[in-house]
Amino acid sequence: MPDRLSPPDAARRRYNIVHTLVMFAFAGSIVAVARFGPGAAPALRWALVALPAVLLALAVWEFVRMVRRDDEMMQLLYLRAVSISAGAVLVAGTIWGMIEVLLGTPAFPAFLLLPAFATIYGVVFSVLSSRR
């Protein structure tokens, strides 16, 4: 790791650290909801469900902050990857929904939309950046 980093590189390194911590906290909060949620009082259950939601919002906020601090080429890559991934998830979700309505297949769990988007985004971003 170089001693000095340009502001975009420093912002990305900070993001990687914060994002990793937030994702660990998110995984822990999901485990907490699954473990303590079912038998808990309504107020506690709401608090348990709010925790992963707040952590997801924090992850999105950190991503936007990192994109804003990066340079023009990286911003172009991020926006292209987000556009392609969002389009892929929307199309796949719509097709799934049509099949669900017309053929009666099981409903897609909506809470998996963001993880599906993040997975596709990771692949798309890797492909796009390897071409730069």
Binding site: S6, P7, P8, D9, R12, D71, M73, M74, R132
Partner: protein, 75 residues
């Protein structure tokens, strides 16, 4: 678009990271610029030219202008 950014950087003894810090961009962007895989915006192109005390057309070549003369590259 071709450019002589790599030659200019090496003439000053800079690493890609050094140039990235000078320009305020990421090292990945410097790498893409040097390889000709990314054409910079006008503000960034002006910034690069200003950093090396050259005109834009001396750094970037659109295929119509003669290439940069090596004697203009200053350390």
């Amino acid at each position: 678009m071709k450019n002589c950014l790599r030659d200019l950087r090496k003439a000053r003894g800079w690493t890609q990271e050094d140039l990235a810090i000078e320009l305020g961009v990421s090292r990945q962007t410097v790498n893409a610029l040097e390889a000709g895989r990314y054409d910079p915006s006008l503000p960034l192109a002006f910034g690069i030219a200003r950093l090396f005390d050259l005109a834009i057309e001396e750094v970037f070549e659109d295929g119509l202008e003669p290439p940069l003369r090596a004697s203009r590259i200053r350390a």
